[in-house]
Symmetry: C2
Subunit: 476 residues, 2 copies
């Protein structure tokens, strides 16, 4: 008896159930898709509509489909999402409603659009391929391959040579950290993930600048943490705006150097005040310092961590912004017991980062090639910033204001009230320009734009800003 | 006024508080450490003991230290763990008490001992450096470096060339999966991490073999999942032991091929029954198939996934066991909507795996070098298994029983009741032998051993088993 014959012997309504289950399971009918009409199914299986209705009833009872008035019957689950359903809901239950949910959709749209080559990418927080040090990278990888020894699992905190190289490297920024107080991570984002699952808890208060990059990650909110946005002035975060930090579950997340998305640089005096304030209030600090090396005019003040005499600061650094995100190498520096805990969590989540990437990163840092490369990156960013500022001045000055960033990738542009457009992001996208609307960083008005001059070519930067100006001028 | 003078002006008790806080914060006094006695502190600061007591009272109120009767005063927190404290507790609250907690301590001890070079490593689930294909790996890395193009972030599911190579590779095992239904992960462990945070939820029931590798990971238990261990017979998992799978939050985790820790191989008939059972019961399955390629006598039956016509199985594979864990490359195969969800979680946790590792893995798979290498691995494992079985026969047959594994790394040894020793693991360690006691895999008796023949040299395997035999014979 063939499978098909076996199939034929089953009651028709079961055949229909199995047919639909298979379509759903294989993903041919995706969640949200409308399934064929009862009429069409009746015809396909050569049965009465009542037989089709029996089958659909069973699938509805199983939770796989749902009849929606005016929309026919749609797929709502497959066996896996059925299981994960409540979980997914839990995972997201604490994402603030309304504006924030919409932002997350925008973030997803941006992520998708970032792989479209015909768009002018004014959104990417990533260096242009033109700045990628291809020759040097090839030679570093070749060197690593020549020296390669059999490699297995790394120790929990990461490759020792790399941690030694990071320890040396950090000294230049005034941070004295032994390799045992450094954890290698797969980018600073992973550090935030580990902190969110291992150190914070549901109900923890996370103070942060508003707007902030952190708002664009659903991670913290989805774990049930309470984000409390604080205003910034020209010097950085406004300290007096932090109230009630006494809860033992509070933490401050800050990007003091070339802040994402505003490009702001926290001044030295404010840094000192912040350190003192946080020690006094026993408010632990996550210092996200991934843009440090991307200064254009002059080196930024020392990191907060350099003046942390109380082990109060967890410091995040990375090669993603300055060398390549594809290496997936970043680091966390903190007091040893916290680093031990994070290392344990890292082992539980991925058994450590790629040995090859770690060796390549170690070679970049210890050979001096990284420092050389940074000189080139800074030159290029200066040119790019100049082009962007020039175009803004020419095409956007009647309609918007901005500050000149002293480093990093971003110019934070505020459209003047009289010229604000609805759906700025979508309209720009329709004109072939991808940019990040302020709303994803919890900017209330939604009439700010984070414009990156790091990725697009000079021509594209100019053209993109021109089109933006035209769009606003013509109120399209 | 110098900092020191400033320091001197402060009341003595505050000086003591700050001194201790700094020691703790910098990790010089670790959590669990006893701080100096009141007498010693009084002497150090030239004050009365009452002043020291005031300082210690303040630190106790802050939650940093605690007086323990008979143990003096110990450090219990620093500012970071203070914050994370309740979180850590939550994270662990569902780890079963007693035996399981002890197991976790054993796991940590094993992890530490695995980097000690003077031990005979009969515990490592990892190929010996002697089997590492150094020449081939160098040439693959060199090839990748020659072909290197500027690289940034990868798409969420991972490098397309690698996913295509995995898709092709899986066909040989009878799995037909398009690249869009494959997610590249940093090892199979990361897949489990993503599943635990994204698809399962607190209270989900996870059916699994008992003993199982999964018990040695605190991950699932710590997320509040309920592990329900099922017995195995000579054919594999005993299906009739699965009861109440109807809950929508249940999942089956199985290692059907060269099971960890028992080495068992699920037979073809049992596989068919299992697939049917799980489809009928709508019980989703996680098939952990990381040992598949390590067959010694003959190829194992097709993976469950090869006969999954309902998208009911999430399939995990990896290069860690057969090539190198240091690459951190594994994969998950499932229906597209689930893979999309896991890819999104992966992006949220680390923005994807290392591009270099992915390119190197793609080259191994697509060049045919991986297949060549596997021939060598199987030969070597056959020799190693032979040595281990020979030594067991000679030195351990009066005291223990075992089955001959048909592949993989492990022999599961059961000490006969008359010869059971307390603290077998510690006693073996004292004799210079590191092995994994059955207790960490939730083996109730604790008188089983997972012995790996993959890592130690042939001489060490023989010597280790000899010492084990002596230990049991002499009841040491």
């Amino acid at each position: 008896m063939t499978v098909e014959e076996d199939q034929m012997r089953k009651p028709k309504y079961i055949q229909i159930v199995e047919y639909i289950k298979e379509k759903i399971a294989k993903g041919e009918w995706a969640i949200g898709d409308r399934i064929p009409s009862q009429r069409a199914l009746a015809k396909l299986f050569d049965v009465n509509r009542s037989t089709v209705i029996s089958a659909l009833d069973e699938l509805t009872a199983d939770g796989l489909i749902e009849g929606k008035s005016g929309k026919g019957t749609v797929v709502i689950h497959n066996t896996w999402t059925l299981m994960g359903h409540t979980s997914s809901t839990n995972w997201n239950e604490n994402i603030a409603l309304g504006i924030h949910k919409a932002s997350m959709e925008t973030v997803q749209k941006i992520n998708e659009a970032e792989s479209e080559n015909d768009l002018i990418q004014l959104s990417k927080g990533e260096l242009s391929p033109d700045i990628f040090p291809l020759k040097k990278m090839r030679s570093v990888v070749r060197k690593v391959s020549d020296r390669l020894e059999p490699f297995g699992y790394e120790v929990p905190k990461g490759n020792l040579q790399l941690r030694q190289a990071i320890s040396e490297y950090l000294k230049k920024a005034g941070i004295h950290a032994s390799p045992s107080s450094i954890l290698v991570v797969s980018g600073a984002l992973q550090a935030l993930h580990l902190i969110s699952i291992g150190l914070l808890q549901k109900g923890s208060t996370v103070f942060l600048e508003k707007p902030s990059y952190l708002y664009s990650l659903s991670m913290f909110q989805s774990m049930g943490m309470d984000l409390k946005g604080l205003p910034m002035d020209g010097e950085g975060l406004v300290l007096s705006s932090i109230y009630q930090p006494k809860s033992k579950n509070s933490v401050l997340y800050t990007i003091p150097t070339f802040h994402n998305p505003t490009g702001k640089l926290m001044q030295e005096k404010r840094r000192e005040e912040l350190i003192q304030f946080c020690v006094k209030e026993q408010l632990p600090v996550i210092e996200d310092d991934v843009y440090r090396e991307l200064w254009i005019d002059s080196p930024p003040p020392a990191p907060l961590k350099a003046n942390d005499h109380h082990g109060n600061i967890l410091y995040l650094g990375s090669l993603s912004k300055s060398l390549s995100p594809g290496l997936r190498i970043g680091w966390v520096v903190g007091s040893e017991s916290v680093i031990d805990r994070l290392a344990d969590l890292k082992m539980q989540s991925d058994y450590g980062s790629s040995t090859l990437s770690q060796q390549v990163a170690a070679e970049w840092l210890s050979s001096g090639l990284y420092e050389d490369h940074l000189l080139f990156v800074r030159e290029q960013l200066k040119i790019r910033r100049g082009t962007a500022l020039g175009a803004l001045e020419t095409y956007l000055s009647p309609y918007a204001t901005w500050e000149i960033p002293k480093g990093g990738f971003f110019i934070w542009i505020k459209i003047k009230p009289a010229f604000q457009l609805r759906n700025l992001f979508q309209k720009a996208l329709a004109k072939g320009i991808l940019l990040n609307p302020g709303s994803i960083y919890a900017e209330q008005s939604g009439q700010s734009i984070r414009l990156s001059y790091a990725y697009a070519s000079l021509e594209e930067i100019n053209e993109g800003i021109f089109r933006l100006g035209e769009m606003i001028k013509n109120r399209e």
